[in-house]
């Protein structure tokens, strides 16, 4: 059975690495390096995070993208052939919402890839709720989910919401990139 590929993207600090670590059954391969500019934390993902999940014999490979624009070539690399996209945004960081929306729209306008938006840090009191993020992104509420990235059940619920958007055919093929044939992975 071929593994399926899931991409987790979002701005710096959205909780991507945490989300991959929460879901992965294997030790996460992380490509973190010291941040060379002030991004609010010492280390940042520069290529991708990689984790795996095996459910009922079906392997899922989970790739977390870098959050900084300077590594945006990795978005294309990682999304090529992906089953779906999880776009994370921290609900307590409104300064990142516009960036998150731009990332999402850049990816989804180029790849026919099903996606959901996860609004992290829902355990905090002062946090934007999924309905408000949905309004900002111009998405139906069914496509935006609140979560705490360290909670496995929240992660599973988010994946369920994403998988429910997929056709349930025996063969869920990888979507091609719009207007390109490149397949770096």
């Amino acid at each position: 059975m071929s593994p399926l590929k899931l991409v987790v993207s979002g701005p710096v600090g959205a909780g991507k690495t945490t989300f991959v670590q929460t879901l992965s059954e294997t030790a996460v391969v992380a490509t973190e390096a010291e941040a060379t500019e002030d991004i609010g934390k010492a280390l940042t993902t520069v290529a991708f995070d990689f984790g795996t999940l095996n459910l009922d014999g079906q392997e899922l490979h989970i790739y977390g993208t870098p959050g900084q624009d300077r590594f945006n070539f990795m978005w294309d690399v990682l999304c090529d052939g992906a089953l779906g996209l999880v776009m994370l945004v921290a609900g307590d960081r409104p300064q990142d919402f516009m960036h998150a929306r731009n990332i999402l729209e850049y990816i989804t306008s180029r790849f026919p890839i099903p996606f959901v938006v996860g609004v992290t840090r829902q355990d905090l009191d002062r946090v934007w709720k999924p309905a408000d993020i949905a309004a900002f992104f111009g998405l139906p509420l069914s496509q935006v989910v609140g979560l705490n990235a360290i909670n496995p059940a929240d992660g599973a619920n988010l994946l369920i919401r994403l998988l429910e958007r997929l056709p349930l055919s025996p063969h869920n093929g990888a979507p091609p990139r719009v207007g390109s044939t490149s397949s770096p992975l």
């Binding site: 516009m98 731009n102 729209e105 989804t108 306008s109 349930l168």
Partner: protein
């Protein structure tokens, strides 16, 4: 519920779109020349406008304040949902119409759409505001199959930055929307509901019908969340 932030990160016009289905008071602490502004909103309607606690009724003064808010570089905001019945609202104006003239406001480069993001015409685009009429007539035919700011900038001999700024304005005016490569959203659960099985009732894998990979993942995840829910 909390809707808060700073206009430096979330432009005022975008903020009003988020609030288009809400009723309550938007507090802006220092967004208008360092002065506090309150907007009493009932969905798309502006029901009251206060500057430093004093109501603004005069049309030209109101436009001054709204113009200031759309062009303000900084200023924190917070929205508090509340019923307006006891707050003596004194206006009944459509906010989006009041803001139409300010769609030309410069947007920081970091907030502009990516040059390669593809957009198409909105399903039912509104009438283009005066400052965008000429551009819209020129660009609209090029958007039928989707086009990016880089595509259009190349065709119209604009710089890439100008293309991104133009698309940002068209989007703010509701004339264009991003192309979504994925299929239209299905009502979640409806398609798969006949196959949904709660934990404990999942058929044995040996006797279960052959399932595709997505169904296998879904079933396993649902079992996991059902177990987590009981724990």
């Amino acid at each position: 519920m909390a809707i808060f932030g700073d206009l430096v990160h979330l432009p005022f016009i975008d903020l009003t779109r988020v609030l288009a289905h809400q009723t309550g008071i938007l507090f802006l602490r220092t967004a208008f020349a360092g002065r506090s502004v309150e907007l009493h909103l009932d969905c798309t309607e502006l029901r009251g406008l206060y500057l430093d606690g004093f109501p603004i009724n005069e049309s030209s003064r109101m436009q001054d304040v709204l113009h200031g808010l759309t062009t303000s570089a900084t200023g924190t905001f917070e929205f508090q949902p509340t019923e307006l019945t006891s707050l003596t609202p004194h206006l009944k104006l459509t906010l989006s119409e009041l803001l139409d003239p300010y769609g030309e406001t410069a947007v920081p480069e970091a907030q502009l759409p990516h040059a390669d993001t593809r957009f198409r015409s909105a399903e039912l685009p509104p009438t283009a505001p005066a400052h965008l009429t000429a551009s819209w007539q020129q660009i609209r035919p090029r958007l039928e199959a989707g086009a990016s700011p880089a595509d259009v900038a190349h065709q119209l001999q604009l710089s890439e930055l100008q293309g991104r700024e133009l698309f940002s304005r068209l989007r703010t005016a509701g004339l264009i929307v991003p192309v979504r490569g994925n299929m239209p959203a299905k009502p979640t659960g409806r398609t798969v509901e006949p196959d949904v099985q709660l934990a404990g009732s999942i058929p044995d894998r040996a006797t279960a019908p052959e399932a595709g990979p997505v169904r296998r993942l879904l079933n396993a995840l649902r079992r996991f969340t059902a177990v987590a829910g009981r724990a």
